[in-house]
């Protein structure tokens, strides 16, 4: 008990010192107040892959998915539940555009609290604010759901949201992982893969604190919510051609004409198959351009 009190006192001291540093950091007002274009947002919404997590478990892919949430993500840090983000009072119906944008791009909730990075804002932070504004406008056109949100089940110490401020200092970075002079196609692919489709959130291993290991980018990782492994897709792990990758993202067919199952089938159905062919080619070019990590 005394040790616990001591730890609590230490934590308080540390928290006091770190308070300013760990404060939620919302978007500049000029970015958060951009007007969105819902028509343009439809394709961007597919690219961002929102439906793969926020549609109900087992829901059929759709042009107008019901984003009722509820899906559970069991991780080492606890069980996270995708919230209802449909345009209803239980969802984001009462949120302002700026509030949604701050959640998506900064991981800052409506009450100014830190959100858990199960929401991949470490990817969306790199997105163009206008693109996110367009996605928000599109979200408001989707069917409402009155499904109640299921609380996360996150144990101590991860239940202290303020600590996520420190986590963000370490891992919420808006610089690109693939640096250098890139040709326009790879640059487009980098935008899609790193900022929107968020491939790395599953395909890149995490360190002990749950941050993505940029030194092992896209080299495969344990399945965050289930058994088995998410395969590596860096050039050292995957020997498919760029055309193979683009075809797979369009159809789900591997070069051996096996067909994707599991989570990737949902990503293809909800996201990559709905993109223009040149965007899939750009993602493929990016995947071929990242450093080889896996030993093949």
């Amino acid at each position: 008990m005394r040790r616990l009190l001591g730890a609590a006192a230490l934590a308080l001291l540390g928290a006091a010192a770190a308070w300013a540093l760990t404060a939620p950091d919302p978007l500049p007002a000029a970015q958060a107040s951009l007007a969105g274009d819902a028509a343009r947002g439809a394709t961007l919404f597919a690219a961002a892959g929102c439906a793969s997590c926020h549609a109900a478990e087992g829901a059929a892919p759709s042009d107008a998915p019901v984003l009722s949430g509820g899906r559970a993500f069991v991780t080492a840090f606890g069980t996270f539940r995708a919230p209802n983000i449909s345009p209803s009072p239980q969802g984001i119906g009462d949120w302002s555009d700026a509030e949604v944008m701050n959640a998506v791009m900064r991981g800052v909730g409506r009450e100014g609290q830190h959100l858990y990075p199960a929401l991949p804002y470490t990817s969306y932070v790199k997105a163009e604010p206008q693109d996110v504004a367009d996605i928000v406008a599109f979200l408001r056109t989707l069917p409402p759901s009155d499904a109640a949100n299921v609380p996360n089940d996150v144990g101590f110490p991860f239940s202290i949201r303020r600590a996520l401020g420190a986590w963000k200092l370490l891992f919420l970075r808006d610089e690109w992982v693939l640096q250098g002079d890139l040709d326009p196609q790879v640059e487009r692919g980098r935008y899609l893969a790193e900022a929107m489709v968020h491939c790395a959130q599953c395909h890149t291993p995490r360190n002990a604190l749950g941050g993505l290991r940029t030194d092992a980018w896209l080299s495969g990782a344990p399945n965050p919510s289930g058994e088995g492994r998410i395969p590596g897709i860096d050039p050292g792990s995957l020997d498919w051609t760029a055309a193979d990758i683009a075809t797979y993202l369009a159809t789900g067919f591997t070069p051996d004409f096996d067909v994707a199952g599991g989570t990737m089938a949902e990503v293809i159905a909800n996201s990559t198959s709905r993109l223009p062919a040149e965007d899939r080619a750009a993602i493929a070019a990016y995947v071929k351009a990242v450093p080889a990590v896996g030993g093949g």
Binding site: N223, G228, R229, P231, T251, G252, F257, I268, A269
Partner: protein
């Protein structure tokens, strides 16, 4: 006419398969090998059809028709009624990727198989017509594969 006959035969085979509840199931290992053989055969037929759809191989109506016939024959094989015995799930026998969920949701599993037969039937009607028809028919075939793999097959790799 030949295609019509084949479609009839395939339909009959499927009906026979559906009715064959009393038929003996294969032994688990035999069933697993039969399943893997069928999946491989799907892959071979799809390599031809997909290769043409993706422009990797020139469209050839006769070859496309042959592959589509094989796809349908395979999808509607009477084996489907007997190659999913209890005790052949992943963990119950070696090298099985079949998830136990199959046996907990057999009606849904069979509906997903029917979706495959429907898509393969449509492909058989389309493949020999022209490339655009083949391409249009390929999406539903892939979707039916994915629909089942997503819930009933263990993750690969």
């Amino acid at each position: 006419m030949a295609r019509f006959t084949l479609a009839l035969l395939a339909g009959a085979a499927l009906a026979a398969g559906t009715l064959a509840v009393a038929q003996d199931m294969m032994a688990p290992e035999v069933a697993r090998d039969a399943r893997q053989g069928h999946m491989k055969a799907f892959g071979e037929a799809l390599r031809t059809l997909g290769g043409m759809a993706q422009g990797q191989v020139a469209y050839d109506a006769a070859a496309a028709r042959e592959a589509a016939d094989a796809l349908l024959a395979n999808a509607a094989s009477p084996d489907w009624a007997v190659m999913w015995p209890q005790g052949s799930a992943q963990g119950e026998i070696a090298d099985s990727a079949a998830l136990p969920a199959i046996w907990e949701n057999m009606a849904d599993f069979q509906a997903k198989h029917q979706a495959l037969v429907d898509a393969a039937t449509a492909m058989q009607a389309a493949a020999g017509t022209d490339l655009a028809s083949l391409q249009a028919a390929l999406g539903p075939v892939g979707a039916s594969c994915a629909g089942c793999h997503q819930v009933y097959r263990a993750p690969q790799g």
